[in-house]
Symmetry: C2
Subunit: 485 residues, 2 copies
């Protein structure tokens, strides 16, 4: 019999709502990954998903001992949670892995950081304790993402019998940025990850960064990236026993599981009546013009500003496109509690307005910015776009680049950044650009708009094939298989 | 007979002034490197220093054919010069090599960048043409710094008979930052440098970054870092002949010449009467308290803000120092034509004022910021400081860290960033810190203030010995010798 499977992730597959009469109701979350994972997990007898309670209703459910089968929520102190989740995971680790710092001023590792880091450690420990309690002998544990980077190391100490995998959905920082962290924090992070038997990433770029950063020698032990005979990448490590001697050598495999799209599910979603309605609206709006589309959270890593600058340069350098193209920029607000995100969001609106003022005419608005997070509208954009602009400075995978070719109706030329994880699989049929090179991006947009329809359709077909190579369920199964190896 | 020596540098050893009656007079520049280089160059028969005319008076001198022996100034169009010097060298190359970008917004490589880059190419060509005209058969050419990175490659084409060295006074960008440049610009930069027989850096950190970034394969040719048998680092390269074939293999040596201090000259400067007077003033001002000193341009790379944050944390965490220590922060304005520098300068003043408001008393002002570029005062600070804070995020060498131990009277504990080039030579006797780790910097300041006087004096003696190992004249001679090898 296969061993038990446990998933640990900050966000769970469901959330609770509290009605006026204080009745609790559970709601399953959407999104390709969560639904794919839930489905795959449901096939595993005795499987358990451990997650944090994210709202007052979730915490109330934990206190009332309400639960759904296969899910355990952890009631974590809200202040500690905020310090760990916002103060460390999303402000420090996210910025480090995506290289987002304004280096002369950030990061600052001071006493306040130390306080938050202690919360991050404790938040990871809460997951570790729950996993140690719940896991059957020899169970397989899949730990998700940078929020829980310390769990593998902590869990290894408590439960050496378990098989542990960790998957990082973001990029992994280059050595240059990882080394900005205080030495002991970097050491905890690396040794936390090395507690896993397998650490997984979306691409070899991030896997290689991890292996390079995990080549380390400090009081916790000694670790060295290795490339064994079968060509698989790994890190050999020996923990220090504290008396100048080292424990037994262990190996953490470093592997790539490039998350893809579930084509059937996505196409079904993209052809619901509400999407058809949005599509009709959009078609009326653009009035037969070509469209360049982008769909992103307004996230610093998504590079929306340089995308707009490239579009402006396109209109300046290739005036033949004036009046002939519309840039549909879905850029819905994100993390507006942080000033740097509010400033960025404002800068996006200002620049779009500038472009409209500079080039717009009575009949033509060059940029249409949509700030509403409207999945149906996004799917309609996917179906109709002539060109997709996916130009992040750095992005773990970027599923938009994979989703668009799958639902595109007449074919869509994808302008794709070398900094997107998806670059590794899609580079041959996308038009690839250095995300800092606005002029090259403008030229790629011109080439994309100029691409013959037949070539565009051919490329889109191949892009869709690459994008659907490893849908969520298969992605999950591949990681379970790697844990057996 | 030894071959002719030529130096090419943006700034020359002298400048001209134009009096009211339009008479030109020449003035020799100060500064350890320029005077050291001038002296060494004077010993070489037929030596020539080629530099840009930097002012209207300089340009007037060129037009009137006025010149000093051994110096040739180039009259470069002021607009082109501004694009090359400010627009590229100091805004793009400086930021790239020092990792100073606010990555979500900068750099932006657009049409305006392309225009400026063309000026940078032309400005390099102006130096190349002058060198090609002036150099005797088989002459040795020493090209200085990031302003002139393309000269070696250009000159190699015109004058294959010359021996060419290039020295970079800044760090060299990590691959991560170098790869932000547009591909063809990065290629021009790397191949420009590879025109040299020897490329020199202040430390192995920067040399290794160069070798890694110069491992390249593109339309210009193929290059690969190599570590030959004698342990010296180099780059093997073959230029593409354009027909699918490659030219003959050439090797560029990558070497380290760690510029040091001329002890005699510096001590003489530090004991002039005007410095004694400043010292008496400063002693009265600090009234017997301990001093933590820093002396920097207000440059984004110098990390003055995190230095102040560390000082604040020191006062918060170790209240025993309140009233007992004064932070003498010389931070004189620089590049105030750029908004990001004006903002940074303002932020330094604001933070210093905050600290003074938070901890200051009737009798004690915790931080004294000096914004005047006053070399005599800086030398007085060097002589009296108990602790030197040298915490740049990234710095080619940082001569302040080397100068202070040489003139310190009672010994000075040096808190030194791992990002300073000087770290490689001074690490054993300095207190070294991660420049992003404000808490660790605060603890290092505490340790430095607490260091017994005898230990401080001993360490200072060893720091001074390391700092004076390769004074400017010897540094220059070592590069000439490397060109003979």
């Amino acid at each position: 019999m296969a061993s038990q499977v446990l998933v640990a992730a900050n966000r769970g597959p469901l959330s609770y709502a509290l009605s006026d009469d204080r009745t609790l109701s559970a709601r399953r979350g959407g999104g390709g990954l969560v639904s794919g994972l839930s489905a795959a997990l449901a096939e595993q007898p005795g499987a358990l998903w451990i997650c944090a309670a994210l709202s007052d209703a979730d915490r109330e459910a934990v206190r009332r001992d309400v639960s759904e089968p296969g899910v355990r929520m952890l009631d974590i102190d809200p202040t500690m949670y905020d310090d760990a989740y916002n103060g460390i995971a999303n402000s420090v680790l996210w910025f480090t892995h995506h290289h987002l710092y304004d280096v002369p001023r950030e990061p600052v590792f001071d006493a306040e950081f130390r306080r938050r880091w202690a919360s991050y450690v404790a938040y990871n420990e809460a997951f570790t304790r729950a996993l140690a309690e719940e896991a059957a002998q020899g169970a397989r544990v899949l730990v998700q993402d940078y929020h829980l980077a310390l769990v593998p190391g902590q869990l290894r100490q408590l439960r050496p019998d378990l098989r542990i995998a960790h998957f990082t959905h973001t990029p992994w920082a280059s050595r240059e940025f990882l080394d900005m962290l205080p030495e002991d924090v970097r050491s905890q992070l690396v040794w936390g990850m090395l507690g896993a038997d397998v650490v997984g990433f979306h691409t070899w770029m991030w896997a290689a960064n991890f292996a390079s950063g995990a080549t380390i020698e400090d009081e916790r032990g000694i670790a060295q990236a290795s490339f064994p005979k079968d060509g698989r990448c790994g890190v050999d490590h020996r923990r220090s026993a504290g008396d100048g001697r080292y424990g037994v050598k262990r190996v953490t495999s470093v592997d790539v599981f490039a998350l893809g799209v579930d084509a059937d599910e996505l196409r079904a979603l993209a052809h619901r009546p509400e999407v058809d309605a949005k599509l009709a609206e959009l078609r009326a709006e653009v009035a037969g013009r070509r469209t360049i589309a982008r769909v992103d959270r307004t996230e610093l890593s998504k590079n929306i500003l340089r995308g707009l600058l490239a579009y402006r340069e396109l209109l300046a350098v290739h005036p033949e496109w004036r009046g002939e193209v519309v840039h549909l920029a879905s850029a819905y607000p994100s993390r507006q509690d942080l000033k740097v995100y509010r400033d960025y969001t404002a800068a996006v609106s200002e620049l779009a307005a500038e472009i409209n003022a500079e080039f717009g005419t009575k009949d033509w608005q060059p940029v249409l910015v949509s700030v509403k997070d409207d999945f149906a509208r996004s799917l309609a954009v996917y179906r109709m776009a002539d060109v997709a602009l996916v130009n992040p400075v750095r992005d773990g995978m970027n599923l938009v680049a994979k989703e668009i070719p799958v639902v595109s109706e007449a074919g869509c030329a994808v302008v794709l950044s070398t900094g997107a994880g998806a670059y590794e699989e899609l580079r041959e049929d996308a038009l690839t650009v250095n995300p800092y090179d606005v002029s090259a991006t403008a030229e790629a947009l011109h080439a994309a708009l100029s691409m013959p329809a037949a070539e565009r359709a051919e490329r889109t077909k191949r892009l869709a094939a690459a994008a659907t190579a490893l849908p969520p369920a298969a992605w999950f199964t591949a990681q379970l298989a790697a844990l057996e190896a």
